[in-house]
């Protein structure tokens, strides 16, 4: 999408019709940073007439040129956000979905723009942003428990169900498409297979619930972003992902995403969800988190290598593989099978 007069006019017409306004004036349309897979545009507009009359700060979210096979379509992500809004999860409120590619070049939706800072290295490293670490940990826990309170249901039938053994099979299938072999990842996958939980609960899961994907505003959790990997699965997968060393932005003294102590989060999550997070389950899902990140890092490296999207950032992402393997060995050698 380009920010030209025609695009703005088509957008204004779409919003006018969708919101029931008499007139919509677009004051600002600007590409936001981040989002390698999706493009986010800051959209400031003023609506005249209708239920949305007034000045608004919105986000327009659309597919980027190179999409990742695993992620949801905009229309699916829109429905996920609606379900989260119904469950009182802190997340941007979805407004309108546009499937007509003539408007902006590809499908998009508009959601409210929440205040705050998301950038992981800032949230984890700037103490002024998180003056009360314990509070943020409890808010992250409460919110995650709400996300996990959503059970599989018909309106979200397009979501995949991914339990531990499904994850293992999925990652192995990916490794089998590659020319090179990855013995350390195979080791981690075998460990996960041998230690897989006997029985698993299945709930809605975010699958990218980590520092860098939530907004912090005035020291509080303002909302969770990036819902394109959502699925049904073991709720503890989200906990392992949030705790994984690869998402601590160098702040290993704070196991909860580099921002808070483990106990503050676990106590609150257990109290709110009624689940128990055993130390072994936490370790298990951290191993799985590193395996998953390793697979995604390889896919990103492949986007660069294949020439589809030459990018220094994607090329360097491939080089974090050895850090992930190092952590997988450290977590699995420490005992159990």
């Amino acid at each position: 999408m380009t920010n030209d007069h025609g695009t703005r006019e088509r957008l204004a017409n779409f919003i006018c019709a969708a919101s029931g306004a008499q007139r919509v004036r677009i004051a600002r349309l600007e590409r936001m940073s981040g989002g390698a897979v999706q493009q986010n545009w800051a959209l400031d507009a003023e609506a005249t007439g209708g239920p949305h009359a007034g000045v608004h700060a919105w986000v327009l979210r659309m597919d980027a040129p190179a999409t990742v096979a695993e992620s949801l379509t905009r229309s699916e992500e829109f429905r996920v956000l609606q379900a989260m809004h119904d469950a009182q999860v802190l997340a941007p409120r979805p407004l309108w979905l546009c499937g007509d590619t003539a408007v902006a070049g590809s499908a998009f939706f508009i959601m409210e723009r929440l205040p705050g800072v998301a950038a992981g290295h800032k949230v984890a490293r700037d103490p002024a942003l998180v003056p009360d670490r314990s509070r943020l940990a409890r808010e992250l826990a409460t919110n995650l428990a709400r996300i996990h309170s959503v059970q599989p249901h018909a309106a979200l039938a397009f979501l995949r169900t991914m339990l531990a053994r499904d994850d293992i099979a999925h990652y192995r299938a990916y490794l089998d498409t590659l020319e090179e072999s990855y013995p350390v990842l195979e080791w981690g996958l075998r460990w996960c297979e041998r230690n897989a939980p006997e029985r698993e609960e299945t709930t809605f899961i975010h699958r990218d619930y980590r520092t860098g994907n939530y907004l912090v505003d005035a020291g509080a959790l303002a909302g969770v972003l990036d819902w394109e990997f959502a699925a049904f699965g073991n709720p503890l997968e989200d906990v392992g992902w949030l705790f994984a060393k690869c998402w601590r932005f160098g702040r290993d003294e704070y196991p909860v995403g580099g921002v808070a102590a483990a106990g503050d989060f676990i106590d609150e999550y257990e109290a709110r969800s009624g689940r128990t997070v055993s130390p072994f389950a936490l370790r298990y899902w951290q191993v799985m988190a590193h395996l998953r990140w390793a697979v995604i890092a390889m896919q990103q490296r492949e986007r660069h290598r294949s020439g589809v999207e030459p990018s220094l950032e994607l090329a360097l992402t491939g080089h974090i593989l050895s850090d992930l393997e190092h952590e997988i060995l450290a977590l699995t050698e420490a005992g159990a099978a």
Binding site: P183, V184, W187, L189, R190, L312, H319, S322, D323, E325
Partner: protein
């Protein structure tokens, strides 16, 4: 520096120039990009410095693990042999051939750890400190 291969030496001095002379001229966003460029150059220089040694050492460990007579290979032959070993290793691990505690399992873990550490020395030596 004079002992480095010429390519690694060029990368090292280019990187230093980038950081000392160009970085101060840039804004925050461009500095972030520059840090990525500098990181890529450092990785490439370490890879050149390490040369074939990590691959030769991995081959020696895997030849021993699989009971193959030690070979002194270089270049494409070295990498082909290593790739063949890795393929077998991956298959065996997945099939559970190393599940049982014992010397073979311990030798495998030792090999995996040394391989990862050799790659970390190129990709991110700081990762070895933790």
């Amino acid at each position: 520096m004079k002992n480095l291969p010429a390519g690694a030496d060029l990368l090292a001095i280019a990187r230093r120039t980038l950081i000392s002379e160009l970085r101060p001229l840039l804004g925050e966003s461009a500095r972030y990009t520059l840090a990525m460029v500098a990181n890529a150059m450092a990785i490439a220089a370490r890879e050149i410095e390490a040369g074939e040694r990590p691959a030769r050492e991995a081959l020696a460990r895997l030849d021993a693990l699989f009971g193959v007579a030690a070979r002194a290979l270089t270049g494409a032959a070295l990498h082909d042999a290593l790739r063949e070993h890795d393929r077998r290793l991956a298959r065996d691990i997945r099939a559970g051939a190393f599940d049982e505690d014992g010397d073979r399992r311990r030798a495998l873990i030792e090999h995996l750890r040394e391989s990862v550490e050799a790659r970390l020395r190129v990709s991110n030596p700081k990762g070895l400190e933790g």
